[in-house]
Amino acid sequence: MLTAQEAETVLLTLKIAALGTGLILAPGIAVALMLARYRGPGKAAIETLLSLPLVLPPTAVGIVLLQTLSRRGSLGSWLAERGVEIVFTWKGVLIATMVMSFPLLVRSARTAFEEVEPRLVGIARTLGCGPLGAFFRVTLPLAWRGVLAGSVLAFARALGEFGATVMVAGNIPGKTQTLALAIFHDNQIGRDDRALVLAGVTAGLAFAALWTTEWIAGRRTRRIAA
């Protein structure tokens, strides 16, 4: 069984991952759609830049975020004047996980949007839909599977994020300690047994998320094919 503090860690992790995924959904879809439709110069450069957090060491992303968001940083000082503290708070954890999972959502959604024939969108327009209507009635329903897959990947990534989080938010039990950080902490203080339990919980959560997605997508396919 989990201790009270461990349960709190699980809850915090879930909250951060869900909230982060929810917050990046709209901007992620918008960026993915732009990348899917944009054909002009600099397309490759923009895509590479957006995927950079996937391949950089998370600690490198973390140090950049820390510099920007700390009280001495450009954005951080502006926020501090308005009474908003990011660094070493749960908001720091949230921002670190959002930055790390954003590219995963965008990549998956972009591929899905690219597979929607632009012609169908054009036909929707001739049938009286504005650009937004055509998006919600044609593009999104045809690409929702990719968007869902991207969201789940982003959620799973948020569950396991370590490097950027530890740089921006530290490892404060009950405040900024997520599952990934707690596992590391338990190992450091010689409690590998507890670390293993938490690893099992993390694996269970990730498995449940991925499996649910597969299940929903599979059910939906059968209905259309029938």
Binding site: G122, I123, L127, V138, L142
Partner: protein, 354 residues
């Protein structure tokens, strides 16, 4: 009434269509890649780079000089692309309803016109080609379009299916009275449906006129990729079911035997289509020949057309010339010169009734 002055830069040539069209059905013909689909898309508002003017029954939809460019959703054009373009995630019914803004009466009307009531709960993936086209036509009709833009709606269908869908198009023309622009390669469809033919070539209007005049003028029909040079209006005279032939009296011309078409009523108007290469030419009266149609004729002129030679014959008492196509070698062997006497032979099977 459609006033058109459209300019659009395409990859291979500029599309420049400057003309006006009547309110009925206009068949747009021309070789593949002559800009037919781009023209329809520009009219529907799906080519934002199109410049010029487009006025439909007094409504200005595009006027670049006055910075007017109506968005596609406000043009009310019923666009049906070649492959129907149905939304795969919606049932046939939801496809038809898509643009109808909840007007159940219009949706019902469209469903009845196209006779698709039995298909409504199926998804496009499970519909046949002809069914898809009918659903797409109903979807376009349900928005009560100012103009229907049909891009080869029958091209993907085999001949039998084509004849089953064509009546629905006639019904739309006659019952809904919606003006149509209709892209086709098929002369029979153009003759059956259209009041006017617009022939495109490399993005420009090559010719425009009444279907029968335009499609039977020499040279033009080849450009339309029709390949049918001889088109003769006529009336059904008699059916000889045992003999397997139907006799047709060509207006101001000879009688022609065609393969039996018992569904054509006696006295009904038909058009006969004969390809120039299907006409045999003999310099003596042929005997013991299986062809049912043999006519004595006089050669008026010859013209080199591509690798072949097109010969223009006059049959005594016939108003229209008959065109035959031979290889230069055959012309040489027969010693064909203007004024020469000849016999033209055509098998009943080579005459299409449209």
């Amino acid at each position: 009434m459609i006033e058109l002055a459209l300019d659009l830069t395409l990859a291979r040539f500029p599309l420049a269509v400057h003309t006006s069209l009547g309110g009925g059905v206009t068949a747009i013909m021309g070789p593949s890649g002559s800009g037919k689909t781009s023209l329809l898309e520009a009219l529907a508002g799906l080519r934002p780079r199109a410049r010029g003017r487009l006025v439909l029954d007094g409504a200005v939809l595009l006027d670049t000089a006055k910075r007017t460019n109506e968005r596609p959703e406000r043009r009310r054009m019923g666009y049906v692309p070649q492959d129907a373009g149905l939304f795969p995630h919606l049932t046939a019914l939801d496809n038809v309803r898509f643009g109808a803004r909840g007007d159940a009466g219009r949706v019902d009307n469209a469903i009845d016109t196209l006779a698709i009531r039995g298909l409504l709960h199926r998804h496009p993936a499970s519909l046949s080609g002809g069914e898809k086209q009918r659903v797409a036509l109903a979807r376009a009709l349900a928005i009560e379009p100012r103009l229907l833009l049909l891009d080869e709606p029958l091209a993907a269908l085999d001949v039998g299916l084509r004849e089953r869908v064509l009546p629905y198009l006639l019904r739309i023309r006659d019952e809904w009275k919606v003006p149509m622009l209709y892209v086709t390669h098929n002369v029979g469809e153009a003759l059956a449906l259209a009041d006017e033919v617009l022939l495109l070539r490399d993005g420009r209007v090559e010719a425009q006129g009444r279907p029968l005049d335009l499609l039977s003028s020499p040279g033009i029909s080849a450009e339309a990729e029709a390949g049918i040079e001889n088109l003769f209006p006529g009336r059904v005279l008699a059916h000889d079911v045992d003999g397997g032939v139907t006799r047709v009296q060509v207006e101001g011309g000879p009688q022609v035997s065609v393969t039996v078409a018992p569904r054509r009523a006696l006295g009904s108007a038909v058009t006969l289509a004969i390809r120039a290469e299907d006409i045999l030419v003999a310099t003596e009266a042929p005997r013991g020949l299986s062809a049912r149609n043999v006519y004595e004729a006089r050669l008026v002129s010859l013209e080199r057309t591509g690798v072949d030679v097109t010969l223009r014959f006059e049959i005594e008492g016939a108003e229209r010339p008959w065109l035959a196509r031979l290889t230069p070698a055959a012309v040489k062997a027969l010693e064909m010169r203007p004024g020469a006497r000849a016999w033209l032979a055509v098998k009943s099977h080579s005459v299409r009734v449209v």
